[in-house]
Symmetry: C2
Subunit: 172 residues, 2 copies
Amino acid sequence: MNIINLNKTVTIPKGDILLKQGDIAKYGYFVKSGCLKSYTIDHLGKEHIMQFAPETWMITDLDSFSNQVPSLVYIEAIEASEVSIISNADVKDINQFEKADLVEMNTKFRNNLIATNKRIIGLLSATAEQRYTNFTDTYPSLVQRLPLKLIASYIGVTPEYLSDIRRKIAKN
Amino acid sequence: MNIINLNKTVTIPKGDILLKQGDIAKYGYFVKSGCLKSYTIDHLGKEHIMQFAPETWMITDLDSFSNQVPSLVYIEAIEASEVSIISNADVKDINQFEKADLVEMNTKFRNNLIATNKRIIGLLSATAEQRYTNFTDTYPSLVQRLPLKLIASYIGVTPEYLSDIRRKIAKN
DNA sequence: TAATAAAAATAAGATACCTTAAGAAATAAG
DNA sequence: CTTATTTCTTAAGGTATCTTATTTTTATTA
């Protein structure tokens, strides 16, 4: 099996939840069209977005999927989406993979890790406004597509404050 | 070559800088004893710690090391340390590796990614006090070992404020 | 051991960002 | 088209965290 050429797709209506916080992830999702998000809900009931997954992206709770521990995140369709589903059972036996597959997985993990580290640098060292302009620079197509409140959640501010930021940017 | 059994070690005095922000990382460092840190300096001149690397940990700027782009971080010895050095040239040809090596790299990248994602969840959703107690729970040995100001930098607060947090915790 | 430097504690005032609340605008539904 | 729902904007007041400054404690060096 080639892990990246999954051809069976499933249609997910907007709003459907594919994984719940606390459950164990049986599946990972390759998005063919539409967009999913993963998010935590904190002890105050507030949502914090970890990842957007538009077309060509893969999304799951990696720890839950790989190690069968409770998921820290929800996964939900923020648009009607078509996804290919990869099952935990499909990848359990690491020895089934060819070298080329392993090399490819390596590259994907590495690139993901690089991006994730950049996000941490931003959260530690940048102001909310800088994180927002960084987001618009990095994901310009998502800025058009996503409601403000989701972008706010991703960069770690309230929607009200992001609205202030946008107004301030527009003024200059 | 087995990528994880490097036997030649080099002694690094406390305070030595092994990589500078903006430079291209030629090397990665496996710490045999002592402790290194990686950190950015933001446009206001403030330091933000990305990673501590005590014994058995590996540290580099992954993007810079893998893709020969300018490093976002400094790497510096915070204790006198012994390290094994892996050169970018040593790993450039991915096909030199055996399947077992690739599987092991995979696991390491994956675990690193899982930990990094948890850190993002904390930065997005936890208070400074929660991030501190989470740090002490996750890395109890480092709490003894590292000065407060470095822990403050890692969790994303000023040393003064972490001092307040500790006092408040001690009071209860 | 004394002298010096570095780290930590403490406190007062400042600011980035949040909370709450209300109204306006856009989108979806009937 | 009309209504209902969601999203966005705006504003006032509040809180977590920062800044600056001083003092105390701890660590380093002479």
